[in-house]
């Protein structure tokens, strides 16, 4: 046998392999060195991201709400920086960028030096033209055309996009966000980020400075971007505009209009408003302080704030009484002589003259407090809490917007924790029965509840998204199923409550009797809620309309505006009239007649300062 020593084999293989590597290195570095040097100097081989176009947002008749417009952006490639002081001066002069900020930006991206860093976006075109000549001195800078968002009108539901920040980048960069990406910060832009953003593409850039392909790669292999889906909302721009103009100037509050059959929100107004477009540029300190003034224009009063509901809560108390068979629709409770004595305290009714002895329908009509005080004595607090939540009040509705407030309804446990062992539960229940005390709701919850009353007791999750358009047509149910839920009330209970609401708007003596719509029947409830924010009550009016057309529910809420019937009612009336087709042209905001500024006051006791209604939890910010 031909014996070869293994060591010889090892040496032959070793020598062959190293000869091969040396030869390859010689060819690469010595023979082709100049060629690769040129490629390296031109820096032209790289992967470039092609940003997908973000989906636009439309109202339900496909009229634009949020669109994309072209923008000019300035980018920096930090690896190409030669003369840092000159660059810093140039940027400070033209873009107001401080040198320290620039250095920090470069430092943050020191291991991404080949990536373009967005320095300034939405630069006016005139400025781009003026600067483009000087740009030759700064090869590290480049203008690129991109898109930015244009919000058609101030609103609180679209939210806005912004540059991805470090925290978001750390969290999402696995999902293919670049360091320059824009990401939804609030509202629908945040909630439907996944649908809106699309999928970025990639292209391999392999051309030399004369534009010739370097032919380093067999096929170009680029991935075309997939544009984001457009959103079609349930919002009606005409109605939104009308409601916006009908809203009394200089008032704070919210209006929600809902389609009772679908749960779609037709109009979503929170006032004072802000223009999301201001976030598309660098925000100046003046605008910033304007956005953070005491009226809180950034606060979405529809879902981000919870308020004492006042008398619009009474249908829930009433239906609980009916459901638990404590009363029926004819039961007459204590005589209202402007108030009622419970234990050692006297609880007043808003009407000092008194309502006399009433049944449920009449109590709802005149918004008699005493009837509900008396009823509350028979209720268990925790049952009351559960029942309110089963009516989807004081729980999150699950609307397709981020950070919704839950609202609040106290339980016995909660009282025990906050007040200690000794407290008079009866007095608490009395207050809660008329929507005062600790109970807090959002205007959206009230609107959804009234909408459910209109829809034969079927509660439908309020939502803004109707469908998507673009490469994928998804209905809202396909994106995320809409929750539907039957309210816990029998047909006869529902009928009694509906009759009560009918009486409010249609029978003489009803607190909302002045809200009239020709050709339609209005069912509504007024509310004037005592609160810790000011002397004047919050004005509530929540109603639904029955016509041949699809029915709608409207909730008008005004912070510290006065009585529900007087202030909020007329606005709701205008909206309902507009929807019913009785007002063709929008005229001007409704001036509030001075005689309506104070009436219909629900005067509850204010004898115990620490038990002041709606002081704990605070009505404006987070018990959530």
């Amino acid at each position: 046998m031909n014996k070869i020593s293994p060591i010889l084999v090892f040496r032959i293989v070793l020598a062959l392999l190293f000869l091969l590597l040396s030869a390859a290195l010689f060819r690469l570095q010595v023979m082709n060195g100049t060629y690769y040097k040129q490629i390296a100097e031109s820096n032209f081989v790289r992967i470039r991201r092609i940003t997908a176009t973000r989906g636009e947002i439309y109202d339900h008749k496909y009229r634009p709400i949020v669109t994309n417009v072209a923008s000019h952006n300035l980018y920096l490639i930090s690896g190409k920086v030669n003369n840092l002081p000159a660059l810093a001066d140039f940027l400070k002069l033209n873009f107001g960028l401080e040198r320290a900020d620039l250095e920090q930006m470069i430092r943050q991206n020191r291991f991404r030096t080949y990536e373009e860093i967005l320095i300034s976006d939405n630069i006016p075109y005139e400025e781009v033209l003026a600067l483009s000549e000087q740009m030759n001195y700064y090869p590290e800078l480049a203008f690129r055309v991109g898109t930015t968002r244009n919000y058609q009108y101030p609103n609180h539901f679209t939210g806005y996009v912004g540059r991805i920040n470090e925290k978001e980048y750390a969290r999402y960069h696995d999902e293919d966000y670049s360091i320059n990406a824009h990401i939804g910060k609030t509202g629908l832009e945040y909630f439907y980020e996944v649908l809106l953003r699309g999928k970025d593409g990639r292209e391999i850039v392999q051309v030399d400075s004369r534009g010739r392909s370097l032919n380093l790669f067999r096929n170009d292999g680029s991935i075309t971007p997939v544009n984001g889906l457009g959103l079609v909302l349930t919002i009606d721009n005409d109605l939104q505009e009308f409601v916006n103009q009908s809203f009394p100037a200089n008032m704070r509050g919210a209006v929600v209009v809902m389609d009772v059959k679908t749960g779609g929100i037709l109009s979503y107004i929170s006032k004072p408003g802000y223009d999301p477009n201001v976030f598309m540029q660098q925000i100046s300190p003046e605008i910033w302080s304007e956005l953070n003034n005491s009226a809180k224009p950034m606060l979405d009063r529809v879902i981000h704030a919870a308020y004492p509901p006042g008398s619009v809560f009474k249908p829930i108390t009433g239906s609980l009484g009916l459901e638990r068979k404590l009363i029926d629709r004819f039961t007459i409770l204590s005589n209202c002589a402007g108030g009622m004595q419970v234990g050692n305290r006297f609880f007043k009714c808003w009407n000092h003259a008194g309502h006399g002895r009433t049944n449920l329908i009449e109590a709802l009509k005149g918004s008699c407090d005493v009837f509900f005080y008396d009823l509350s004595l028979k209720l268990s607090l925790d049952d009351f809490h559960d029942y309110a939540q089963q009516n989807m009040v004081c729980v999150k509705t699950g609307i397709d917007l981020p950070n919704e407030r839950r609202g609040f309804f106290p339980t016995t446990d909660w009282y025990r924790k906050t007040l200690g062992k000794k407290f008079a539960i009866i007095g608490r229940k009395v207050n809660l029965s008329i929507g005062q005390g600790e109970v807090l709701t959002t205007p959206l919850q009230i609107c959804a509840y009234f909408s459910a009353l209109a829809n034969d007791g079927m509660w439908i999750q309020p939502h803004l998204l109707e469908s998507t358009v673009g490469i994928n047509r998804l209905t809202r149910d396909q994106v995320h199923p809409i929750t539907k839920k039957r309210l816990p009330m029998s047909a006869s209970t529902l009928k009694a409550i509906q009759d009560g609401l009918y009486a409010v708007c249609n029978l003489p003596g009803g607190t909302g009797a002045h809200v009239k719509v020709a050709g339609a029947t209005i069912y509504g409830k007024t509310g004037s809620a005592e609160n810790a924010m000011g002397r004047t009550t919050h004005a509530w009016f929540s109603a639904y309309m029955v016509t041949q057309k699809p029915d709608i529910a409207v909730t008008v809420f005004l912070e510290n505006a006065g009585g529900g019937g007087g202030v909020a009612g007329p606005i709701a009336g205008r909206i309902l009239n507009y929807y019913a087709g009785n007002i063709d042209k929008i005229t001007r905001p409704v001036p509030i007649p001075p005689q309506f500024m104070s009436s219909d006051n629900t005067d509850t006791e204010v004898e115990n300062p620490d038990a002041n209604p709606a002081e704990k939890p605070t009505p404006e910010v987070g018990n959530d």
């Binding site: 046998m1 031909n2 070869i4 293994p6 060591i7 084999v9 090892f10 040496r11 293989v13 070793l14 392999l17 190293f18 091969l20 590597l21 040396s22 390859a24 290195l25 010689f26 690469l28 570095q29 010595v30 082709n32 060195g33 100049t34 060629y35 690769y36 040097k37 490629i39 390296a40 100097e41 820096n43 081989v45 790289r46 992967i47 930090s78 690896g79 920086v81 030669n82 003369n83 840092l84 470069i106 430092r107 020191r110 291991f111 991404r112 030096t113 080949y114 990639r202 391999i204 392999q206 380093l216 790669f217 067999r218 096929n219 170009d220 292999g221 680029s222 991935i223």
Partner: protein, 405 residues
């Protein structure tokens, strides 16, 4: 028990030189230069800490009594297999389950398994009474266990290392060359099956070699038929694959098909090395590196940094140091007379050489990207510690010469 007369200073010096070159390259690779500002990641001093640590471990190993060392291998091998099983249940990093993370230090059990498997195999197949067939069978049996576990991770590149080491060990165990030839012939046939001319030449060479080894005509006929059959069955098998599976394999063979994935890195490495030209751009001056085109340039693509900054002269110098190191290993293998130690040394030699070749070949675009680091040079604790430890084992064997025989 470091015996000065027997300690191999040449090998140790070459090892230290390689580690030192690695630290220099890593310092440059982990820094980036913008204008006149240089910023470094902390990788380079971590590497120095690992280097000092590994020297300590080798000294400890040399002092360890031989019987304890011999006894420890089987339990360690079994523990390592267990670790390979457990690592499959860790959260995936970049889509594969390879690492244990302990407070910033990542342990990769497939790295330690290389050395332990080599030591295990050498122990088993060195036994005198075994037939050649049994040597192959046992060697195969020991290697297949870690290989299967590593394939599940998934990490195909690493498994190649095991087969190459096994082949070298069989050679060192005096298994005739034709056995090795017969084992690898179907693999070669599969690789070449796309080119008919290459297949015909390969089969002719195979038959010629087998005749030279004086095999019976029956054996030669069977070997040829098996190989031709393999070649013929390949197109059938190939057409049975789905499009994306075909693409995946083609990309593995030719990464430039996939410019956005592995191909991008290889092309960028090639540009970096090529642009270094003859004398290079100077330490810390690599523009491709500074522009950070290569995300992994301090680990798998460290050679591109050397090539770019020190040019042909620098990369040849590094290659020659490697060549001297491996040549010294072949000399040393000849000096080891205890059978299982000699086999182990051959396995270690083959595994280090194969990794070096694959890594450098990958950097200059000769072989597909596999994720195998450059021994002693690439950043990474596991890589440095295990490879140096493997050399340490050879140093220990040399140190123990004459005690047993």
């Amino acid at each position: 028990m470091i015996n000065r007369k027997k300690f191999d200073f040449t090998l140790a010096a070459l090892l230290l030189l390689l580690i030192l070159l690695g630290c220099i390259a890593i310092f440059s690779a982990s820094s980036s230069k913008i204008g006149d500002n240089i910023t470094s990641m902390n990788t380079w001093w971590k590497q120095i800490v690992f280097a000092i640590f590994v020297i300590g471990i080798i000294v400890g190993l040399l002092r360890l009594p031989m019987p304890i060392f011999d006894l420890a291998i089987l339990p360690l091998y079994i523990l390592n297999l267990l670790a390979l099983v457990i690592v499959l249940f860790t959260p995936a990093v970049n889509g594969s389950h390879r690492w244990f993370a302990f407070g910033g230090i990542n342990l990769q059990p497939s790295e330690t398994a290389k050395l332990l498997t080599i030591l295990m195999v050498s122990r088993i197949i060195a036994k005198e009474h075994l037939t050649e067939f049994k040597q192959i069978l046992y060697g195969f049996g020991i290697v297949i266990m870690p290989v299967l576990l590593i394939v599940i991770e998934p990490d195909f590149g690493t498994t190649m290392v095991y087969w190459i080491a096994l082949l070298a060990m069989l050679l060192a165990a005096d298994v005739p060359l034709f056995y090795v030839l017969l084992i690898i012939s179907p693999v070669v046939s599969i690789v070449l099956s796309m080119y008919w001319l290459a297949v015909i030449i390969w089969i002719l060479i195979l038959i010629f070699l087998l005749i030279r080894f004086r095999l019976s005509w029956v054996a030669i006929t069977i070997a040829s038929i098996v190989n031709i059959f393999t070649v013929l069955i390949m197109p059938v098998f190939w057409n049975g694959l789905k499009d994306y599976q075909q693409n995946r394999i083609l990309t593995f063979i030719d990464p430039t098909r996939d410019p956005l994935g592995a191909g991008y890195q290889i092309i960028q490495a090639k540009i970096a090395i090529g642009s270094g030209a003859t004398i290079g751009k100077g330490w810390m001056e690599g523009t491709q590196k500074n522009m950070n085109f290569l995300p992994e340039h301090h680990t798998d693509f460290i050679f591109s940094v050397v090539g770019e900054e020190f040019g042909f002269i620098g990369s040849m110098f590094l290659l020659l140091v490697f060549f001297a190191f491996f040549w010294r290993l072949t000399v040393v293998i000849g000096e080891l007379k205890v059978r299982d130690r000699k086999i182990a040394a051959a396995g270690i030699f083959a595994y280090l050489m194969f990794q070096t070749f694959i890594n450098v070949g990958m950097n200059i675009g000769m072989v597909p990207a596999t994720g195998i680091p450059l021994p002693f040079i690439s950043y990474g604790g596991s890589n440095l510690v295990i490879n140096s430890l493997a050399v340490g084992v050879i140093l220990k064997y040399l140190n123990e010469r004459g005690f047993m025989k």
